[in-house]
């Protein structure tokens, strides 16, 4: 047996780590429990129908979560469709192509993007992005892709698509920096193997870098998705805040996070308040689910692609 003096730090560190882990678990469980307590009335009143009902009417005291679930999922999906290719491409550029001396400045710019407060993005969205979308991009989309239901209907500016674009900008930094770490972890020997076969730069990225890293990049995207689902302030400023389910991305929408933030103070009836609590519970469940999946994927990445040590 080792002297106590050596074992002590080891043991106490283990207990501290365990304590921290348990505390986090307990906190999440407590939050979940509180949300459940708050939403019991709505759960009793509407049952599982709450999740699929599209009515959100404080006047008649009828509440359903579907427009918000839909808005959250669609705006997050738009955000991912834009941010994943852009983030991975930026990371690829930074690890594989960019000259050394411009790498650090670009990384700094990307990281600064993460430091910009949400509400600033919202303001920028209102005053810069939306007018531009309304007068240019949306018009162009409507004329070229107008045969798709996604790009039909009147253009207001504030819209699901604007919300998705703003969220995309907000999750771009995390996707880029996680992707960059993952691409950097691809062993140089893999790249050299491809170069030695006479591969071009692009072919090396395809056969040696991206295929080696694809699971990790997937994990990075899910991490971004986790962020997108919970994004509140900037989205609520540009998405239009109308609890409607529309096929058109030009139509306004609403997300779980925004409706909770917007309507909490004006919830006049107990059932209204309780329904907002239940929206919070739904958001928590979706977010936890997504993060658990991301963790599992990132963990399985650690065991993949490293080759067999003989």
């Amino acid at each position: 047996m080792l002297p106590a003096g050596i074992r002590w730090p080891d043991i106490s560190f283990r207990w501290l780590a365990l304590l921290a882990a348990v505390t986090i678990g307990v906190l999440i469980a407590l939050v979940g429990w509180e949300l459940y307590q708050g939403s019991r009335m709505a759960i009793g009143q509407f049952g599982p129908r709450f999740l699929v009902s599209s009515t959100w009417n404080p006047v008649t005291d009828q509440y359903g979560a579907w427009p918000f679930i839909y808005g959250t999922l669609v705006s997050s999906a738009i955000a991912l469709i834009i941010a994943v290719p852009l983030g991975v491409a930026t990371a690829l550029y930074l690890t594989e192509l960019a000259p050394m001396r411009i790498r650090q400045p670009v990384i700094m710019v990307v990281e600064m993007l993460a430091a910009v407060p949400s509400v600033i993005f919202g303001l920028w969205g209102i005053f810069v992005l939306i007018p531009w979308l309304r007068d240019h991009l949306f018009v162009w989309l409507k004329t070229t892709l107008g045969f798709l239901p996604l790009f039909q209907g009147p253009i207001y500016g504030v819209s699901m698509l604007a919300g998705g674009i703003v969220v995309a900008i907000m999750i771009l930094p995390i996707i880029t920096s996680v992707s960059r770490e993952i691409l950097r972890s691809v062993p140089n020997l893999q790249r050299e193997a491809a170069y030695a076969l006479g591969a071009t730069h692009w072919e090396v990225m395809r056969i040696a870098v991206l295929s080696y890293a694809k699971r990790g990049l997937f994990g990075a995207s899910v991490l971004g998705l986790g962020r997108a689902l919970g994004e509140t302030m900037a989205v609520t400023m540009v998405i239009g805040n109308r609890p409607e389910v529309s096929a058109s991305l030009f139509a306004p929408g609403y997300t779980l996070a925004s409706v909770i933030a917007n309507e909490f103070t004006e919830a006049t009836t107990d059932l209204y308040l309780s329904s907002l609590f239940e929206l919070g519970l739904v958001l928590l469940a979706v977010t936890i689910l997504v993060n658990v999946i991301a963790q599992l994927m990132l963990r399985s990445l650690a065991g993949s692609g490293t080759g067999k040590i003989n």
């Binding site: 893999q190 790249r191 050299e192 193997a193 071009t200 080759g307």
Partner: protein
Amino acid sequence: MADLSPPKPIAAGPPAGASSAVPRIPPSIAGGEMEVAFDIAGFSLWYGANQALFDVDIRIPTRAVTAIIGPSGCGKSTFLRALNRMHELTPGTRIAGRLRLFGEDLYAAAIDPVVVRRRVGMVFQKSNPFPTMSIADNVLVGLRLNGVSDRAFLRDRLEASLRMAALWDEVKDHLSRPGISLSGGQQQRLCIARALAVQPEVLLMDEPCSALDPIATAKIEELINELRASFTVIIVTHNMQQAARVSNRTAFFYLGKLVEYDQTRTIFMNPSNSQTEAYVAGRFG
């Protein structure tokens, strides 16, 4: 060019670690004139401000095995990587001098390094199969990069390459398993098969056996012996016995300079330079 005959029994040379180095080179090759693959003159290479190779003059024969030996840091890998312009992947490198392969200047402005690497294949110290690819895909990836898609052709080349790398019998029944499911020695032979599949003119090997056990090493040495008939093989090794067993000619590098280059027999039995003599006798390095 594929020699598909079954492998000969394992060469009877002393295993790694035996005390004396006894060259066993076919006398027919050890003597006569040679056809030159690489013709290199006044070749120097710099990493930034650090010069790693100094004025190297060497003519490397085709259809023969040339060993590069020398103490750690003397520039063996650097020299090898200059032969297929792999060093250009390291930023800040610069070269001077002449380097010709079969009379053609590999560093001419019009020559694309990608094409050079297709002609001059490379096997690394640590095996590096592509982990997401099957055994078959690993072997064929180079051909696919070249746009070959004819199935019958690919199948033939797959078998021929794996046979040349003496791996066919061990993997023929599970070609679709991941390349990294193989043992270390098998993975290294898979990498050799991958390099051979594109039919390079030259095969460069940088300490290909240093991570392998004696049996896997013997297999690779035997394979190098087979390749001698149709290829130009250049192998960097720290193992004197290995150099003596597999090579026709040996080049001894020290501090970035080519100190001595001769028939392997001469280098080991009767070197003209005292540093060479000390090195092959294991007195420094």
